[in-house]
Amino acid sequence: MIEPNSLVGNSVQFETLSNVWMVAIYPLIAFAIIMFGRWQGFLKTKPVTAAIVVLSTLMSFLHTLGVFNVYKEIIGITPTIGETFHWLHVGALHMDVGWMLDPTGFMMLFVVTVVSALIQVYTYGYMEEDPNFHRFYAYLALFNFSMLALVLAPNLVQMYMFWEMVGVSSYLLIGFWVSRPSAASAAVKAFLMNRVGDFGLLVGLLSFTFLTWAFWSGDAAPGLLSFPALGKASEYLMLHHGTAIFSIVGLLIFLGPVAKSAQLPLHTWLPDAMEGPTPISALIHAATMVAAGVFLIARMYPMYNMPGGEMIMTVIAWVGGLTAVVAATIALTQFDIKKALAYSTMSQLGYMVMAMGLGAYAAGLFHLMTHAFFKAMLFLASGSVIHGCHHEQDMRRMGGLHKTMPITAWVYLIGTIAITGVLPFSGFWSKDEIVAAAFSHQTLLYYIAVGTAGLTAFYMFRTYFMTFTGQYRGHHEAHESPLVMTLPLILLAIPSIGIGWLLSGFFVTDFPSFATLITAPASFHHHAAHHINWTVLGTSMVVVMGGFAAAFAMYSPMRLLDPALFVNGAKPLYTLFSNKWYWDEFYSFIARQVYLTVAQVSAWFDKAVIDGLVGLSAFSVNMSASGLRQLQNGRVQSYLLVFVLGLLLLSAYTAVQWLN
């Protein structure tokens, strides 16, 4: 049954490459062990559970590393490797499962495994007191499995399955503290919001399949919706159905990333998702799962980035740009440290989506990578703060924590500098490339990108100053977190500082730069980002410094300016921002006024008309059942009578048929 077939024509065969799917299986095994162990009752010690999960992630990481070492040798010959197995081959339908890897996939694997491993270590400290410690680790392993399998998926069918799986894991983990009503409703909200997007994605995939069915159903046709064949299929779609249909299908698929990566207008679930435990916010809602949307766009590039797909690309770019700026403005007004970081995540995801829309494939994914490291670190640091301040999340009751929590404060500062994009921290390299891409493609988006950079500097330093400088305003004694929590923070600080210049290709020339490694498949207009645009760099530096200066003036211990001045000075704007642009109220209005009215009308229709019909049919079926049952009287004579009569009737029926 297993028929390895190289996805590309090249026949390079390596032993190491034949079981890459195991990368995703290790966490599944860990999940199974924990579930089974808890069920049978022999798994009782917390360190063992944690060790199983961390070990499984390390195995995934080492396996990825081993595969990459082999892959390095052939990257020039064949950028895509993979293996598929037949899953459902019926008639013209060829559905496969398997795995596929290209540089983008490797990058995602590394990011997911590294960040996951560190967060899983951190979790041990953060969740130690929790009564459901084991369940939490089991969910972490389940999420890891889903995420790695999503990255490895060789076709959209498999990707969609794991896309839903990560959604489920996210739902379970947001609502982990089930006894809190706010956590439960946040989980439901995340699930519902993602349903909207996933429904679009599903409809998009189905219509894509339906419209290009002839392409997938030949004798030598590729597996259904497999990524290497996506470009050809898209050309087929364009050729046979025109640009309009093509764009609609593409945008429907884009709805998936819109919800998953919290883009406007399906973004409102992400801030609420911060009700989950902080390691989850760091892992799922900052570093990995929300980036899956960007990853899907990258995988869809053969379709989006072809002649005729300009409409889709423009929409993607604008959705990303608007999300970036809207989220940044909301972040300005938040007092909950995790909410501020959540909006910052949303804003950075906006950057990535915008980059993808502008054709800056490498830049978008580069930012995905750097952001995963520094944002995970920032969230973990905020978790450390929350932990140290006895579950206090309001920054107005923090302050001066630099003295009591020096390690946390330092890494938070590093993260802040990285996200604001200051040379030479990692955020600078990736963000600069996006801004440069915007500069060369769309002037308005360029202004948005630069402006957002300024806002980012302001709100990030605002959180830093409010939390770590000045006087402590809380009631409980704050304390530094244990080593098991600070160590991952320190380890995450290293890539946050260094990964940017290491992979940018400027300073370390013997290492391949990110942009040469990661190239868009079937690139139509390729954005070359091998040079620094000094105009762009200068402008964005100035704006960033402006943002920093404003934050310093208002929130540093010196208090040069009173924030209230601005709050009162631009009252309408402030109200708009602090109410999150009234998106929640808007949805609430839709749900309550519009949806409920429609629902009530259909409920009436259902009760009066449909139920009546159903009742009637059930009644008639019931009556005929009783009637037919009478025939079954238990007497073999009457049974035989039915037999003979039946035969006679059949003969008569046939005779009548023949006489006609």
Binding site: V621, R629, Q632, L647, L650
Partner: protein, 550 residues
């Protein structure tokens, strides 16, 4: 036809599974006679011996099949490749043995495999049930293996006489099996009813086959098939009578309405493992008979029997599903469910297409596991609470979670809920019927409608077991989490068959192709039946291959 005087010993190899099973029957017989005192140990030994020989027969069949495939290189390509709608030209001619009385085609392998699989699942769960109720166990194994043997002969027969011998071996042993618990009134009554009803049906079959012989002067299936083509129903109305007579018998075995009346009474009265045997093994053998007679010998006269069978398939779906709603006993409910399922399976035959036949065969495989699973679960429920009444199983989840889970999966599969084999079986079947032509849409309409109705009575026992208040008998039950092995096996197979359906579809597709490639052309008689009925939208290559055979 093979050379007259030289006895080709090839046939012995082909018949190895049957020989093995026969030795098993003899072994059990000797063991039973040698021991006069019966005890539990001996029951176990008998069961083990029967099981070993059944498994041996299954293994020999597999080995045989492998050899068959190895000698047909064109096949290897086909079996290892995914299902791509291969051409008829690739399918090897079926071989015949022993003066062309035995036919070694894919169908014979497949049906015999199914029968043996059924037997292997049934034997282990019979023991526990019968031990409690009777002291004489040996005869049971002997009979159940003998009946399977009859079914296997039926599946490989290429001669009307051999066909009849197989049918009678199966029938007569079934009559005795139904009355195996002879001290129980219900069991004896079931046996008697089955005997009388079956006797009448057999008489019809004999009458029908004698007409065949009268018309063609041969009992060999190939010769009969060719010979019948000389006649036209316009000039020989006997032909219609002959087809209807044979049809009545086959449909009686399949419990298709209006020949289904015996089914509920016999299933309810017979010991539960016997009911499972009748509903699965006996029915599979009957399908072999149906396919041999109607998809092969009478295919030329499809326009006579096709409308009738379509009608009866629909009537069975309606009767089975509707009357099942009112049942209060699980066994009776399953009896009506088998009537309905027979109706669905008949659809694949009546559309006269490769896809239809192939999906019926897949349906048989799925049905084997899900129905045996359901019967096994009912059996264990009966063993636990001593009743199969719906009112008594209420709230069983708390006491027997494993059992309830297994039964639920099987019921969901019978209802056709996705990821189970039952869903895919229905899916492929309906797809084949739709592909066979728009004029068959009404069949699909009824099939969907009755499937919807069936949801009620399949889900109702689940609802009772899972959310219902524990009944009196259930309350007195000691909790236990163990899940019996046969039930687990059937449940897992039900899901695996669904998820990996494509592997089996390869084989069923090949079987159907081989069968229809060697079938006679459909005669176009006054009510015009167009050629496209045979294979939906064939490629040019297919058509060329097909006409080549004519």
């Amino acid at each position: 036809m093979t050379d007259g005087l030289v006895l080709d010993t090839q046939f012995l190899k082909f018949l190895l599974p049957e020989l093995c099973l026969t030795i098993g029957v003899l072994m059990v017989m000797v063991l039973t006679i040698a021991k006069t005192r019966h005890n539990a140990d001996e029951h176990g030994a008998l069961a083990v011996v029967s099981m070993l020989f059944s498994l041996g027969a299954l293994a020999l069949l597999g080995y045989n099949f492998k050899q068959f495939v190895d000698t047909n290189p064109s096949l290897i390509v086909h079996l290892s490749q995914p299902f791509l709608g291969g051409t008829l030209a690739n399918v090897p001619e079926p071989e015949t043995f022993l003066y062309a009385t035995i036919r070694g085609d894919f169908l014979s392998y497949m049906i015999r495999g199914l029968l043996l699989l059924g037997l292997v699942v049934i034997i282990p769960f019979s023991t526990k049930y019968l031990e409690k109720r009777t002291a004489i166990m040996g005869d049971y194994y002997l009979l159940v293996m003998g009946a399977t043997l009859g079914g296997m002969v039926l599946a490989l027969a290429n001669d009307l006489i051999l066909l009849f011998v197989g049918l009678e071996t199966l029938s007569i042993t079934s009559y005795i099996l139904a009355g195996y618990l002879r001290r129980q009134r219900a069991s004896a009554e079931a046996s008697f009813k089955y005997l009388v009803y079956g006797g009448v049906a057999t008489a019809f079959f004999l009458f029908g086959t004698s007409l065949i012989y009268g018309l063609t002067g041969s009992t060999n299936l190939q010769e009969v098939t060719q010979g019948l083509l000389d006649y036209s129903a316009m000039t020989h109305p006997t032909l219609v009578l002959m087809v209807l007579m044979v049809m009545a018998t086959v449909l009686f075995k399949l419990s298709i309405a209006p020949f289904q009346m015996w089914t509920p009474d016999v299933y309810e009265g017979a010991p539960t493992p016997v009911a499972a045997f009748l509903s699965v093994v006996s029915k599979t053998a009957a399908f072999a008979l149906l396919i041999r007679m109607f998809s092969y010998a009478f295919l030329g006269f499809a326009d006579i029997w096709q409308p009738v069978m379509m009608l009866l398939a629909v009537v069975s779906m309606i009767v089975g599903n509707v009357v099942a709603l009112k049942q209060t006993s699980l066994k009776r409910l399953l009896a009506y469910s088998t009537i309905a399922h027979a109706g669905y399976m008949l659809l694949g035959i009546v559309v006269l297409s490769v896809d239809g036949l192939s999906s019926t065969l897949y349906y048989l495989l799925a049905y084997l596991f899900m129905n045996l699973g359901a019967f096994a679960a009912v059996l264990y429920v009966e063993n636990a609470i001593g009743s199969d009444q719906l009112s008594d199983i209420s709230g069983l989840l708390g006491k027997r979670p494993g059992l309830v889970l297994g039964l639920s999966v099987c019921l969901l599969s019978l209802a056709g809920i996705p990821i189970t084999a039952g869903f895919f079986a229905k899916f492929f079947l309906f797809r084949a019927v739709i592909a066979a032509g728009n004029e068959h849409m009404w069949l699909i309409l009824f099939a969907l409608l009755t499937s919807t109705i069936s949801l009620y009575y399949y889900l109702n026992p689940m609802r009772l077991m899972i959310v219902g208040e524990p009944s009196k008998v259930v309350e007195g039950l000691a909790p236990s989490s163990d899940t019996p092995m046969p039930l687990t096996l059937a449940t897992v197979a039900t899901i695996v068959l669904g998820v990996w359906a494509s592997i089996f579809l390869n084989a069923t597709d090949l079987t159907a192709r081989q069968l229809l490639a060697s079938s006679p052309p459909i005669k176009v008689e006054p009510p015009a039946v167009s050629q496209h009925l045979l294979i939906p939208a064939p490629s040019h290559q297919d058509q060329a291959a097909l006409h080549g055979h004519q």
